[in-house]
Symmetry: C2
Subunit: 350 residues, 2 copies
């Protein structure tokens, strides 16, 4: 695991400010709900599992800051914290899943007093954090079996240690394979507009000693044509019951290009990323972000002020383009729905 992207320390949530990588490794300390919410909105912390964990700790912070209030006001403050955190980003379901876990704690601890409720919220956030670490390891092991002894892969965005409590989803598979002695090197799509691939994936893989080369998103097709690529591996922000996968914009195009070249396309995500309440990916809400991220993403003006810009943050890859979905429960292949439903049901029972 390259680095701890988020941790609970001295009664505060400490985050790596991912907007400043790779130039600077700077930490931001969050001591109130609004700071956590903005950190999520502004991508100081990002990656579906990490967003969920940050939000869970955000609820803890909201509760602790209301500790001296009346029980009624305390309860109101915590509800407001959850509502604020829910409004940060619409696509990654892990956010809503984590907040739902916190809501269940509130229901179960009703009337036990502010201090006890606070303690239970923190215990739960810590448990989610530790579980995410274990889940990353299990996903890594499950996915590593799909990789050859020696090979090159392509990944998109960042689904690594910077996106989770441990060493990641898609990159967890790479790390696990490398730990098993496999020789895996990675082409990292830079991932416009916010360059999570070139800024974050390249940075953390290099920190961990995994061979990585940065390409622009539009070079993946040429790389697949010219190089032997074992597979593409990506994370996900939400997976519908039929196996349609929402992930960072550009994933869908990459999957089409992989199909054209006969390159397997793997999605790695914890069961908390499943949203089996949605029949298909058409129902997944897609966040549209400010055009300025494209127009002035790296400081300089790169598109005329007067010209409109379209900036969807995610896209949906139809399940027909997905070779396998890897979770902590195993490896699902088409038809995905029975396996995904079984995973979700098994997790609910735990």
């Amino acid at each position: 695991m390259p680095v701890a992207t988020l941790k609970w320390r001295n009664d505060a949530l400490v985050l790596i400010d991912q907007t400043r990588l790779p130039s600077e490794l700077v930490y931001e300390t969050c001591r109130d709900v609004e700071t956590v919410a903005r950190a999520i909105e502004e991508l100081v912390v990002r990656g579906a599992p990490a967003i969920g964990l940050a939000a869970a700790y955000g609820v803890v912070i909201g509760a602790r800051n209301a500790l001296e209030s009346t029980e009624v006001e305390f309860s109101k403050s915590v509800d407001e914290a959850i509502a604020r955190l829910e409004r940060t980003r619409p696509t990654a379901v892990n956010l809503f899943w984590a907040l739902e876990q916190m809501r269940q704690v509130l229901a179960q601890t009703k009337g036990q007093g502010n201090r006890a409720i606070c303690d239970e919220l923190l215990t739960t956030a810590n448990r989610l954090f530790i579980e995410d670490q274990a889940i990353c390891r299990r996903m890594g092991e499950n996915g590593a079996e799909l990789l050859p002894e020696t090979g090159q892969i392509i990944t998109h965005c960042n689904a690594g240690g910077l996106a989770t409590a441990d060493y990641g989803t898609a990159l967890g598979v790479v790390y696990a394979a490398c730990e098993q002695g496999k020789k895996i090197s990675v082409f990292a799509d830079e991932t416009r507009p916010l360059l999570q691939g070139s800024r974050l994936t390249a940075w953390e893989l290099h920190q961990s000693g995994v061979e990585v080369k940065v390409i622009c998103d539009n070079m993946a097709a040429t790389v697949m044509r010219r190089e032997k690529i074992a597979c593409c591996i990506v994370g996900s922000d939400r997976i519908a019951a039929n196996g349609d996968v929402a992930n960072k914009i550009g994933t869908y195009g990459l999957a089409i290009i992989a199909k054209e070249h006969g390159v397997p396309f793997y999605v790695v995500a914890p069961v908390s990323t499943l949203d089996i309440s949605l029949a298909s990916g058409d129902e997944i809400p897609i966040e549209e972000r400010k055009g300025e991220e494209i127009r002035r993403g790296m400081g300089k003006l790169t598109a005329p002020e007067e010209v409109p810009v379209y900036n969807p943050a995610f896209d949906v890859t139809p399940h027909a383009l997905v070779s396998a979905i890897v979770s902590e429960k195993g490896v699902a292949r088409a038809p995905f729905e029975p396996t995904l439903r079984a995973w979700a049901a098994a997790t609910d029972r735990e």
Copy 2:
């Protein structure tokens, strides 16, 4: 036609410095061969037809600057100018085609004296310029027939007025259609790493009153899925005898994505872009440019210093993915080879 990207004025070649758009409209005046060569290398001027014209005027400049030399030294200077200009960029064949035209002038004017040779070189460069204008118009008319009365298209890189002596190749088709009263709006891929789409295509279409929206390269797949897209239209830097098309990196991926969505994929280029000496696109030399264009393309560091970057400037789209090739001679469809050979032969006879 939005703006004159290059012109011969006061015995010098005046270029729009395309590296500074869209922030500033600044002209660079070239009075020696090295300045022209660097302008081509550094993309002050770019676009296959415009590169060819700039190189032709570069030869004129080399000749004029040697006017007072002996005939032997004059001849040597002009040869050196051609050799220097040939070394600027390897992929766009229009460069070599234009320099070959100038070389033929030298052969035909041998012994006529420096002044007469100079005059003939300038006459030829001016002729190529005027022909390129006429060719753009004919390509525009030929291509406009492929567009619906109302529709949206996607283009990649810049194949417009900034890439030619007139209103472009791919964008010429759009301008011609709009002049015919068709309502065409354009999604412009930003085109990493040097952003010719967001910086140049968006700028010139907006200047000309054509509706345009900028997207990142990795959004084209989602746009094709969500919107009704009439076709993709791109230019080319070199087309092999079988119809394989070299063009700006990202074109190949876009063509694959177009096929997946049943969207026609059109290539627009003058006959001077044909290289029927090459059987297929595998033989086209692909320029690889500095990693710094990706790593620090917009000022800020966007990939770790220590991580390698792969930066091919072009890719090759196999002819199977091309719906039609439009030139000043007409519209070619598969099988491309007979038509492309006939176009080349007819042009040689002219």
